[in-house]
Symmetry: C2
Subunit: 240 residues, 2 copies
DNA sequence: GCAAAAGTGTTAATTCTACACCCATGC
DNA sequence: GCATGGGTGTAGAATTAACACTTTTGC
């Protein structure tokens, strides 16, 4: 046995000595429709949580990376691909799953509801407005996970151009503002909002206009992600 | 068998069917000394990584929460307790550990080096300046984890009063500024820096002064965490 | 022509930046 | 008394907040 394989054996037996646990991913999938922030839920598979709503989740497979697992869950449950996904937080309370210990990694996903028609709707998969959740009973610790993730989103959307993932590629400024107002639960001044976004200079005028609208149609813009990636600044100033 | 225990059995067998993996925590422990940001490392236990530096980590135990595991690692390796710790990110590359699959959760910790004398220094446990790491070879994917965590810290310290965990309870404004300059790797204007912190109004004048300093001693301040918790604002404005 | 939302500018207040001199202490 | 860093103020620039009227379109 060479030195190298001896080392390998040592680290293998070390890892074998570790306690092992099941690991899952749970996707908190946000969408935006009818001026409301929504979230995608299914009825829980578990008898114990019969009637309760649940995030889309699954155990990870052997040798599967967490990010891939989250993408797979999304694909399997909704048939959709190429969606913005971000690791959010791990939840490890030993009693969070009635079937035994399952550590879960919550992922946050933002997508455009119109562009992602649900191709699979097993287990009553559908969109729920985030506001309606407070009266609903959720499986596992999913209510807590959603609340934390929502707060994270509220904060993050102010500092990163996440929100555009919830909109179609071309959108009016009114829609963009509604998005911010819905997520942050505040009202914003229309003129200042426009000024702010125009001064950032990441919106491209597509030359197109809204259609099927019963008033003066607004211009449609696209967010210039490349320009943002190039220009985003590092230092923003101490402020808390 | 009652309905309830039947359900329990179902979810138990479901969880039993899941793939299980070893899970570890790795603590990225920052300290501040000699005007430099430092990080605590040990020599790797593994023969394979002989001579390489490693984060402080360990596998989690049965029924142990991740946060507790991170605190335990800190206690076991350094003898210290009651330290600021925050979950950072999960790393799940199947090849990141030579002994087999180990998913790790990186935790970030900030502590005051003077107040936490190392009581245990096995495996050459000691502080390394963050800057010196770029020439060093680290075990596992720890270099990448540290880099990501450092960037996270740079961003986070601008928006949250994290940095005070690196300082003694009473500190001079000069020290506070050095801290920001060391972490962000920039120079700041002393007058504007003071104005900024005084205007936030979270610094309490302790009435004490620096000692053992060979120039005019500076006033010592304490950060008022309670006041911060009460006042911290939700809306900061869209800016990216 | 009327309803509904699009589009647009100015002013005052606030915050940020840049910058220079006197002060208190140890030696 | 001199070296060292502590402490302070102001003016111009930039950003933000508050606020109302005209324009375009569908009906």
């Amino acid at each position: 046995m060479t030195d190298k394989s001896q080392h390998l054996k040592d680290s293998v037996s070390l890892v074998n000595s570790y306690h092992k646990a099941a690991i899952s991913v749970d996707c908190v999938i946000f969408g935006f429709e009818d001026e409301k922030l929504k979230i995608l839920l299914i009825r829980s598979d578990l008898e114990q949580f019969k009637g309760k709503w649940s995030l889309l989740g699954d155990a990870i497979k052997e040798n599967e990376e967490l990010d891939n697992a989250a993408n797979r869950v999304l694909l399997e449950r909704t048939g959709m691909n190429d969606v913005y996904l971000e690791q959010f937080e791990a939840f490890s309370n030993p009693n969070r799953h009635p079937g035994g210990r399952v550590i879960t990694l919550a992922y946050c996903s933002l997508l455009n509801i119109q562009h992602h028609e649900l191709e699979i709707t097993d287990n009553e998969l559908h969109w729920h407005s985030v506001k309606s959740l407070k009266d609903k009973d959720l499986a596992f610790d999913h209510k807590m996970i959603i609340e934390k993730c929502f707060k994270w989103l509220q904060k993050r959307i102010q500092e990163h151009p996440l929100g555009f993932n919830l909109l179609p590629e071309r959108f009016s400024l009114r829609t963009l503002q509604s998005l911010y107002e819905a997520i942050l639960n505040i009202e914003l001044d229309r003129r200042n909002f426009r000024k702010k976004f125009f001064s950032m200079d990441y919106l491209t005028d597509t030359g197109e206009y809204e259609t099927d609208v019963k008033h003066r149609p607004g211009k449609l813009y696209a967010f210039n992600f490349e320009k943002y990636e190039k220009n985003k600044r590092k230092w923003t100033g101490i402020d808390f």
